[in-house]
Structure formats: structure tokens, C-alpha cells
């Protein structure tokens, strides 16, 4: 399934995350986006903010990385992206973090509050293995787009509209055009996220993008005990 399924590590506890990751892998999710929890996530909606706040008390960055490493050992072919906020990674130590990524064989990292051209991002760009996945939006102008794509990332995370995660889904009118521009610069796989909650919206995204990204809706379904149902719906209806 051309979906990147997002989950906050250790929400509500580590055992639950293990169970849900196994479910996502069994359902055939193309990519898992595993978030290292931060006490104050600045770009997440209310569901993921609350999940982060609780999970940050449950697990350390090192513990979260241990979890991902174990998962990758059991499922070496499963594509995984790590996601967190810049202070978590800065506090852990950037070189330490890069070493851990290499060890667990996960090259992809999403840091929404680290601009791809900041001096700190340069430390990731200088490494041959690690890729910072750019998070772009409909108002990203062409000069910034060129700069973002100059690191030749395998993937791009694109906001479907001017929203925060967990909002109502809509597709900005510029998105289709922006995807073509991205592909002209570098043939990255483009994922669309923010506000996607059902198979119909996933299919709408897949008409123009390579995959869709689902976070809050899956976490909410887990909270409400509906996750098996929603995964079945995706398996049956996603094209």
C-alpha cells in the first residue's frame, strides 16, 4: 500500500507501539514514519501533541532508537523514516544520532523545524548515508525548491494544504504543479500528508503523488480501538 504510516514511539507505551507497527507491516504499509517523542511538538495537531507529551515521559531518545533498531532487525526490508524535532536530536548529539541511524540501517530523517539550508542541517548533508527529507508546502518558491532538491533526496514530504497535522483534509490548488516541478529537479518520490483520514482521500492523493502520509487518523483509530477496521478499509479500497 502506498501509504506512510506515522506513529509516535511509546504512545501510549512501548508494547502498544510494537503491536501497532506489526499491524502496519502486516497490512503492507510501504513506509513507517516513527516519531521520537518531544514534550512540545510545534507542528503537530492536538492528537499527536498529546501523544508526544505522554510518550516523551515514557521513553528517551536512546530507548526510542533501540526500539527502531530492533524492529529493523526483525523486518530488514521494511522502509522506515525517523521523525523528531530538532532539539531532541541536538540534545542527543548529531554525530551520535547519525551513527545510530547507520547502525540500524535507516537513512531517512524528517525534522520539521530544521530548515534544509541551516548550518546545522549541513551536518546531515555532509554525511553520505543520512538523508534529511525536505518538508515542503504549496508556498515553497522555486529558489527554495531548487535548494531543497539540491541534496537529491529519495523522498519529499509535501503538505497537502496550509494545515497542521490532524486538520480537515484538502488539496491546495498549487500542489499538482509543485509535484511536477519537484520531479523536474530530481526524481524523488513525493508523499502528501496533513489531514488524510480515509481511503478516498488516500486515493485522491495517489492520483498526483507517489504515496500518502497518515498520522493523526491512525493514532486516533488506535485510541478508539478501530485500528483493525481502518486497516481493512485501506487494504480493500486503496488503489
Amino acid at each position: 500500500m502506498k501509504i506512510m504510516a506515522h506513529t509516535v514511539i511509546a504512545y501510549p507505551d512501548l508494547e502498544s507501539t510494537k503491536v501497532v507497527c506489526e499491524k502496519y507491516i502486516a497490512a503492507g504499509m510501504e513506509i513507517l514514519e516513527l516519531q521520537i517523542p518531544f514534550s512540545h511538538p510545534t507542528a503537530d495537531g492536538s492528537i499527536l501533541t498529546q501523544a508526544n507529551r505522554l510518550a516523551a515521559k515514557e521513553i528517551s531518545t536512546s530507548g526510542a532508537l533501540d526500539f527502531v533498531e530492533e524492529l529493523k532487525t526483525q523486518h530488514p526490508d521494511q522502509k522506515v523514516m525517523l521523525m523528531s524535532y530538532v532539539n531532541k536530536i541536538f540534545s542527543f548529539g548529531i554525530q551520535n544520532f547519525i551513527s545510530r541511524m547507520k547502525k540500524m540501517k535507516v537513512p531517512y530523517l524528517i525534522i520539521p523545524d530544521l530548515p534544509f539550508d541551516s548550518p546545522l542541517a549541513q551536518k546531515f548533508h555532509e554525511d553520505d548515508y543520512v538523508q534529511l527529507i525536505p518538508v515542503l508546502s504549496a508556498n515553497t518558491f522555486s529558489d527554495r525548491l531548487k535548494l531543497a532538491m539540491s541534496s537529491k533526496p529519495d523522498y519529499v514530504y509535501l503538505m497537502a494544504d496550509f494545515k497542521i497535522t490532524g486538520s480537515q483534509f484538502s488539496l491546495h490548488e498549487n500542489i499538482k504543479n509543485l509535484i511536477s516541478k519537484i520531479k523536474e529537479l530530481h526524481p524523488a518520490k513525493v508523499g502528501l500528508g496533513f489531514g488524510i483520514s480515509n481511503a478516498e482521500q488516500v486515493n485522491q492523493c495517489l492520483e498526483i503523488a507517489d504515496f500518502s502520509i497518515i498520522g493523526s487518523a491512525l493514532t486516533k483509530a488506535c485510541d478508539e480501538g478501530r485500528i483493525d477496521g481502518i486497516l481493512k478499509e485501506f487494504q480493500a479500497e486503496v488503489l
Binding site: A43, A56, K88, D113, P115, D117, H125, S150, F162
Partner: protein, 439 residues
């Protein structure tokens, strides 16, 4: 990454080289120019750590500010608004009785509390709203903790005809109800934030999220010398009038510069406002006073330079109160305006350079300073500013009578009615509230 970033580095290095040439031929300190011309970094601090979706807003604001900061028409409009709307200049009051009693240095109080809406906050609110008008924005978003920044923002928005949305942590919303009322009376929409710890941090995050959702028509009127570039610079620029007035007033009153300037530090807007003008006057000691709260235990104070460590949060690199794993700690101060986890990157830089020193005062010391000033000098000071006064009162006896200390009285204390009255006259307050409920 490839060329463009390297080019950026190169141009930055060239700039640094140019600056250091100027330094070697001019005076030994040149902090004012260094800050004024900043590209967003102050030493290693500052920067723009934001989601890409906000990039255009920050770039647009930077360009507009750079155009306005030397535009005589803009500066004239700003000065006029300072004078006609806010009531500037504010007085510099000698605290003669208090100084005599302490038996040492002579204390002076810069009366920023005499501004419209009761604090220095109005300075950068006026400035930023004028910038927002230049950018053609129709909608102002702001966060507020105690409600003072929100109150000032709501007032300026009403005057300049802009829609005003204020985010406030739900706990603050409930404990600062009178300020919510003033904001609403001024036509602002006040939104309680129910996420996270429901205080100032969560309000800042909610305001940024609003900007993400409405980037075109909105300006986020950030309320301190913190946040991503250009906010620390912009707010310092609009606040520097405080230090400029102090310099001319003290020169008139004592015929020279003060020996010390002392300001409280939450995010650092009133401190930067006071200090900027004196940065290159080496004889003037500059001290920031943080909130020591109840104790130095984590979660019981808000003293980030004294007890925090370096990190990146809410768009900037500076000192933050955080745990060993990079999670942001809860903070505490009796004064809501100082109850914040981070500090201006400009102040962090000036601290590293030994240009600005830091100390802290506890909740009890601040409350005591409020009472002493009220009874000795007839002035009711805000609890925030009382931290600075408490420090001045502590050190004044160590100096001789010809030593001059200026304290920034960044706000007036009427807003603290429910906090100080609970402390000083709890029984009478309860009796009053009960009688109001019954009537």
C-alpha cells in the same frame, strides 16, 4: 548540501571578515552595530528554526523590517504613535527615600509602566502593527501568558483596524480573567489553548500553528525578543527607545552615564530595550534578573541562563530549561511574564561575551520589593519588574552614594491585584470576593 549553502557560508564568512576589520579600527566594542546588522545569528545563537511553510512569512517580515528601519517616514510614524498613543517619553524617577534607607547606591526607576496598557510591551506592538500594515496584513495573531502582551496587542489592533486573535493557555486564561476581559472589550478574539501544559509555551505553539494555516493574511505579533529571526532583532529595535530615553534623562539628572542598568528577564524584551543603547558604553554594567521562583529545583523557577542549557526551540537557538533528553521543562514564577522556558538569543550571546551579567530573584524577594516600593516611593510595580528592583535593593548597600543604578520598571503592578492581594491581604480579599458573589 551543495553550492547554494556553501555560497551562503562564504558570504557569511566575508561579512564576518569585514566586521572584524571595522572592529580593529574602531572602538573595542561594537555590539550595537553587530546586532543592528545581524543576519539572524548572534555569535552562535539565534537562527531560523521553522517549518519551511513559514519561510515566506519570515522572509517577508525581514525584508519589510530592513526597508522600514531606516525609512524616515516609517520612523516618524512610529515616534508619533509612541508619543500620541502610548504617552512616551516615560519618566525616570529617582528613588531617593529608598536609596537613603538602603544607605548605598542611588536608585532610579525607568517608568515603563506609565505606557498605555501598563508596560513596555506596547512599544513592539505598535512597531510590529505598523510593519504588518506595510505588508498589507489584515489579521494579527499573538500569544500571551499573563495577558499583558495580548492586552497591548488588542489595543493596537483596535486603533489600527486589524483583526486580532490572541492565544492563551487555558490555565492562564482562567487565572488572568481580568486581562481576558480587557482584550475582549477591545474587540480581540481570545482563544484558550487546551493542549499541553496549557500555559505560555502552548500559546506560542498554537499561534505558530495558526500562522501555518493562514500564512498569507496574517502577521504573528510575537511578544518578546525571542523566536526565529527577525523577531529578536525587530523587538529589540522597537524597544531600544527605552534605553535611549534613559540615557538622555540620566545625563540631564546626574550629568553622566549610570554605573549600572538592571532589568528583569523573561524572554528579554524589556532588558534588550534598556541595554541596547548602553552596549558600547563599557563603563555601564548591565545585569539581567531572572525568575528564581520557589527554588532552584527543576520546574520551580524560570532562570534559564542561570540553570538552563543550550538548545533549539520555538525557532531559535539559545538557553532553555530542559531535561537531559531535550524535552522542555515546566517553569514557575509568581510573575506570569517571566514564566517562560527560553531567553533571547541576543542576551545569550551578550552573556557569553561577558557584556551582560545574570542573576535571579525569588518569588518572595519580588513580592517584598513590590511592597517596599509602594510604601517608600508610592509606586506600585509589576511583579516582573520587581525582580529587577529586588536585585538592585540587594546590591545597593555595597556601593557608595555616588554610584548610580537604573532599574527598568517595565510594568505597573495594578494587573497583579489578585496575586499580590492574595499574598498581602488574603482574608480581606476573600471577604471582598464573597461579598461580591452575594451581592
Amino acid at each position: 548540501m551543495t553550492e547554494p549553502v556553501l555560497m551562503k557560508f562564504k558570504s557569511k564568512m566575508e561579512k564576518v571578515a569585514i566586521k572584524s576589520t571595522i572592529k580593529s579600527t574602531a572602538s573595542s566594542t561594537n555590539y550595537k552595530n553587530e546586532i543592528y546588522d545581524s543576519d539572524g545569528y548572534y555569535g552562535e545563537y539565534g537562527g531560523v528554526f521553522i517549518p519551511e511553510v513559514l519561510r515566506n512569512n519570515m522572509d517577508e517580515l525581514t525584508h519589510t523590517f530592513n526597508a522600514c528601519k531606516s525609512d524616515p517616514a516609517f520612523l516618524a510614524e512610529l515616534d508619533l504613535a509612541f508619543k500620541e498613543f502610548s504617552g512616551r517619553p516615560t519618566a525616570l524617577t529617582p528613588l531617593s527615600k529608598l536609596s537613603d534607607e538602603l544607605g548605598g547606591a542611588q536608585l532610579y526607576l525607568k517608568r515603563e509602566g506609565l505606557n498605555h496598557t501598563g508596560a513596555h510591551k506596547i512599544n513592539h506592538c505598535i512597531g510590529q502593527v505598523l510593519l504588518a500594515k506595510r505588508m498589507g496584513k489584515t489579521r494579527i495573531i499573538a500569544e500571551t501568558g499573563a495577558g499583558q502582551h495580548g492586552y497591548a496587542t488588542a489595543s493596537v489592533c483596535a486603533r489600527y483596524g486589524l483583526e486580532c486573535i490572541i492565544y492563551m493557555g487555558k490555565i492562564d486564561y482562567e487565572r488572568q480573567r481580568p486581562n481576558v476581559y480587557w482584550m475582549e472589550l477591545l474587540g480581540a478574539k481570545v482563544i484558550p489553548v487546551t493542549e499541553g501544559s496549557q500555559t505560555l509555551n502552548d500559546a506560542v505553539i498554537a499561534a505558530f500553528k495558526d500562522l501555518i494555516a493562514h500564512p498569507k493574511e496574517s502577521h504573528y505579533l510575537l511578544g518578546s525578543a525571542v523566536g526565529p529571526h527577525p523577531f529578536p532583532l525587530i523587538n529589540t529595535f522597537f524597544q531600544k527607545v527605552v534605553g535611549e530615553e534613559i540615557k538622555s534623562q540620566i545625563t540631564e539628572q546626574i550629568g553622566g552615564l549610570p554605573d549600572q542598568c538592571i532589568a528583569c528577564v523573561g524572554g528579554g524584551s524589556n532588558a534588550m530595550g534598556m541595554f541596547y543603547e548602553f552596549l558600547d558604553d563599557e563603563s555601564v554594567t548591565l545585569t539581567g534578573v531572572e525568575a528564581g521562583g520557589k527554588s532552584s529545583k527543576g520546574g520551580e523557577h524560570a532562570a534559564k541562563v542561570s540553570f538552563g542549557k543550550k538548545g533549539i526551540f520555538e525557532g531559535y537557538y539559545s538557553y532553555f530549561l530542559q531535561d537531559n533528553d531535550g524535552n522542555i521543562n515546566d517553569t514557575h514564577s509568581v510573575s506570569a511574564g517571566l514564566d517562560y522556558c527560553g531567553v533571547s538569543p541576543i542576551l545569550a550571546h551578550l552573556y557569553d561575551k561577558d557584556r551582560v551579567g545574570f542573576s535571579y530573584a525569588t518569588d518572595d524577594q519580588a513580592l517584598n520589593a513590590v511592597q517596599v516600593l509602594a510604601q517608600k516611593e508610592g509606586i506600585i510595580l509589576a511583579l516582573e519588574s520587581a525582580h529587577a528592583l529586588a536585585h538592585a535593593m540587594k546590591i545597593a548597600p555595597e556601593y557608595s552614594k555616588d554610584h548610580c543604578i537604573v532599574v527598568n520598571g517595565s510594568g505597573r503592578g495594578e494587573k497583579d491585584l489578585f496575586i499580590t492581594m492574595r499574598h498581602f491581604q488574603k482574608d480581606k480579599m476573600m471577604a471582598f470576593l464573597k461579598s461580591q458573589l452575594e451581592s
